[in-house]
Symmetry: C2
């Protein structure tokens, strides 16, 4: 495997009317993706219930996989033996992997943090394991991803500013070690800012990490349970603190509302389990005043119309709402499959609409319309999970 | 809804070399299907994990749905309100429904049998319900299926010959009532023989039910737990006892070995949960000496080849065996989806091969090859279940 990550091809076209919103292209050895864009989450090298042909059909341009989960099973060595993650998962386009940090720091009470890295026990069989910035990059390069993320410490929401500051310093030291650990110049590596919702810390993170020669910058530690307003406050200043010439990725976010909010502030890339997880639970995202339907609601039992006439996904082109309602009522696995596909298509269509509106200078109208449809609904704020 | 069931278009071409094996075409208002053929089982109007586009892609020509399950949820009235079962399930080809009898007689201890019909309690909410031959046909016609099955009594394997004989007499009386209950001349109705493995009873069933003006004849009560040899014994004489000019459908059977055995004895149509259920449990049917693989076996962990090079299904054209193994090890729903699709394609390809071999006079070679590959393996004999 040899990747060519041609960063010089990245183009950022910023229009005056659209606040900080911008469009662009990011090029990897496995092709380009347009920004703003959304990455379907394939935690264990599979977007739950959605095969890669359907994923292509939904218009996905890049997918995300999870280093922690794939390191444990089947193992990066095993994936490498069968070619690489692209061949393994049958996805020929760009693939980004997270560093595994978020999962390790989510394991309660079974980890030991040191300057060197983090010791933890596998959630599968209790095996003692050690993840360091170097190990994370090694695993990601062995998987053969196009974009690897640095290992960061994910601070608890309860951290004081002092604790969060110490944590950020460690994250910065780890970020440098991560970059130094790169063996394959074709692997793009993104830095990650932390600092919870402390403006001073976010500002410092942006300055210090932004000065390092990363191929892109990510914003971590948001949408992990904090109030929406706090996240929106960080979004109001933080993305613009990151180098304008680098791609900006907001990790694990979010609802369509969150996405337009972030795009408006200059964010280019997203991932979230929301479309698939919501789909499995019977939630269908739609256009218009009502942002989503609970498909199990009795009012949908005999509706023979598609979820969304303007949507070309499998669910909308073949089935009526009443049938999908039925599938959920009788626990047929086709129900979660159809809504996962539909929601992914909804998200990816939204990203296309965002790009085209930024291009034509009409993003603000789209932003307002989505903001208004979400004014009185909430899906909770703890979206940042792997699945 | 108006169906045109043109039975005059049924053609049966029997070749001398191939024992009783025969090819043909059955025409319904929703198109034709070639025989011998296999119906994927969509118990609750969904073939588990397989959308109807994939089903078409697998080469399915006709699908089966379950009257009992659809009567309970969403209700035949509800389906009718949204058009019919074709529109509801998004399947434009022929659809056959069973009568619901098998399910009702499988409910343990909560049914009351009379000349009129059978009283039972819904397995969903305990509601008292009554199924009669007339009610079953009414529900099936309300669903709008192309082929309806008569309500039969499904005798317990422990019945004495006398009990089985009384049961068969009731089944014959019910069969006549079922046919009389037809309101829509476009609905094809198939009779069903019973008689467990008693030759006298099967012979009587064939004579008496074969004399009634059904559009096709089904063999019920096999593959319900009896030994394979007993089933093969019935198959050795019973299909030929049925009118040669009518389609012969062996209900709920079976393995590829069972299918070639039955085709060789003049059976034309099959349904079974085996390909999808086996797929969900990690069993992949393949060609060659080893008739199926247990995908969870460690020896498949790093195999990057497709399950079957000659198979064009989604699983085989996109993924390696090692990846599908991984999906099962980490409980990803895509694993069961891929093997369900693969196994259906395997079955439907087999039916195509059977038809082409009968046509070219080489069926006996195919029969022997499949028989030999199954000589030392068994999947159990209780395949006749809805799912």
């Amino acid at each position: 495997m040899a990747f060519i990550m041609n960063q010089k091809l990245n183009k950022w076209d910023k229009t005056g009317q659209d606040a900080e919103a911008r469009i662009g292209t990011f090029t990897t050895k496995h092709g380009q993706f347009s920004t703003p864009n959304f990455m379907p989450v394939g935690t264990k090298a599979s977007v739950k219930g959605v095969d890669t042909e359907r994923l292509e059909e939904c218009g996905a341009q890049i997918m995300l996989v999870n280093t922690y989960h794939l390191w444990l099973r089947p193992g990066s060595e095993q994936v490498h033996k069968m070619g690489d993650i692209h061949k393994f998962a049958s996805w020929s386009g760009p693939i980004l992997s997270d560093s595994g940090g978020f999962q390790v720091f989510s394991l309660s009470g079974i980890r030991k943090l040191s300057e060197q890295g983090v010791e933890f026990r596998s959630h599968i069989d209790g095996t003692k394991m050690f993840l360091s910035p170097e190990k994370s990059i090694e695993v990601q390069e062995e998987l053969g991803v196009d974009i690897a993320m640095v290992l960061d410490e994910c601070p608890a929401a309860t951290y004081t500013e002092k604790q969060a500051s110490d944590s950020l310093d460690l994250t910065i030291r780890w970020a440098k070690r991560s970059l130094d650990a790169r063996k394959n110049s074709d692997t793009a590596i993104f830095g990650i800012t932390q600092g919870i919702c402390f403006k001073d810390l976010r500002t410092k993170a942006a300055a210090e990490l932004g000065a390092i020669d990363f191929d892109g910058m990510a914003i971590g530690g948001l949408s992990v349970g904090e109030e929406k307003e706090k996240m929106y406050d960080v979004l109001s200043y933080h993305p613009q603190q990151l180098p304008a010439e680098k791609i900006r990725y907001l990790m694990g976010v979010g609802t369509p509302r969150d996405i337009v909010e972030a795009v408006r502030n200059g964010v280019d890339l997203f991932d979230c389990v929301m479309p698939t997880r919501s789909g499995r639970f019977g939630r269908a995202f739609i256009k218009g005043d009502e942002p989503y339907l609970n498909i199990k609601n009795a009012r949908f039992a005999d509706l023979d119309k598609p979820l969304d006439h303007s949507c070309s996904c499998l669910a909308c082109r073949r089935y009526g709402v009443g049938y999908i309602h039925h599938l959920f009522k009788v626990d047929e696995m086709l129900g979660p499959i159809l809504l996962s596909i539909h929601n992914l298509k909804h998200y990816l269509d939204l990203m296309g609409e965002i790009r085209s509106c930024i291009k034509s200078g009409t993003f603000e109208t789209l932003y307002n319309s989505i903001k208004n449809s979400w004014l009185h609904v909430s899906l909770g704020s703890n979206e940042n999970e792997s699945e």
